[in-house]
Symmetry: C2
Subunit: 230 residues, 2 copies
Amino acid sequence: MAASKPIERLTLSTLVAERLRGDILAGTYLPGQQLHEVELALALGVSRGPLREAMQRLVQEGLLTSIPHRGVFVVDLSEDDLRDVFFVRASLEEAAVRRIVSGGTRSATAKLLHGIADRMDKAMRAGDSAVGGDLDFAFHRTLVDGAGSARLSRTYATVQAETRLCLHRLMGGYRRRADLALEHVRLADLIASAPLDAVLEELHRHFGDPAATLRRSLKDSDGAAEDTTR
Amino acid sequence: MAASKPIERLTLSTLVAERLRGDILAGTYLPGQQLHEVELALALGVSRGPLREAMQRLVQEGLLTSIPHRGVFVVDLSEDDLRDVFFVRASLEEAAVRRIVSGGTRSATAKLLHGIADRMDKAMRAGDSAVGGDLDFAFHRTLVDGAGSARLSRTYATVQAETRLCLHRLMGGYRRRADLALEHVRLADLIASAPLDAVLEELHRHFGDPAATLRRSLKDSDGAAEDTTR
DNA sequence: GATTGTCGGATTGTCAACAATCCGACAAGT
DNA sequence: ACTTGTCGGATTGTTGACAATCCGACAATC
């Protein structure tokens, strides 16, 4: 007999949090939009208690903001927020890279990253930006997971969620760029065997300058296939 | 007339979260201890709803862990947890140092840090380890705050809280070491004007090896004035 | 016209009651 | 003796009702 995992129990508040997180990240709600408890509880078929608990979680994750006695609102991220998100994301990814390159997970991580980069290349060639975008996120998440630090990964998840919000809010979504997948392949190559400095340099190049990316994005609002970093 | 700040509204759940956080960090509850909702709500004079919301927050902060239908427990941190906490803390502090040294907050941050280090020195000379310990935490928090990143500071706060838990759980509290305050003075000096590499090197030295620190702490359980890092 | 005061409606915050879950103790069956 | 089934008690999870808060609209006053 195969060994089994314990059955995972999920409270209603957990399920509600997951649903809301997905909807927020999918852009279902406008930035700054208020989530009305009574209306939302009715729509989800739950009472307000678990909904409040769920929203509390998302407030902690940075996706919602709560004003006592006024309500809970979807965050409205500014250009400064974008800069901050990118700064923290970059810091976390760098920390992960430092650990991966100096530790025992280097080749395993590179292998996973190569897998994702290849699938991302295929998706891009097939013109499927949505899948490509998801794989882009997965690439970076896998990179951070490669450090083997639960807390680093958990922190990264929240910041990555905010990145998605920034994409919707400030940049009009994930955009395809011709060589984006190849950049990821290159990163995976470097992570496999390059010196730390070379990896970090490429990572920096890969991120670019968030503000400049934003400005280009706003100028090219009719979609000139310009880069949007993840 | 002086300009006034808006009056801050606090929900009961916020107040409960703050109280619980303080009590947990003060070691009021044993590692792994269950917090019983009915009993605790009675003791705090609130209903279970706000208490549940508060506990949800602390679960997100990593101080509590929730098992559906079983209850909420104070986290029981292992040696691996200690390593992880220290790794993430160090990563965040490094990221802060990189930004401070390359940005415009260098001298202001160093000034604040010097102030704290001096007060810490005085407290240590006066034999007041508790104040010294609090100042030690404040030093590092101020260092991270100097990066001017709200998200970095917020993340650091949660990891620092876990550090305090580790101290209680695994190391028997904050211990005084003769030259600890001077180490902080030295760090503040380096942050004021040294090259990045020198600052980072001293920061690494300052942290030491968490596992070795733990082992020394367990061996010296009768208190040989050995270092406990923050 | 500007300022102050009042009120009602919408919404959030809290509470207490009931439902659901889980675990341990005990009984029954093999 | 070991395994399976049942039940009760303790606790958590959810619900709906009531309390509290806030804001905007409107009236009254200067």
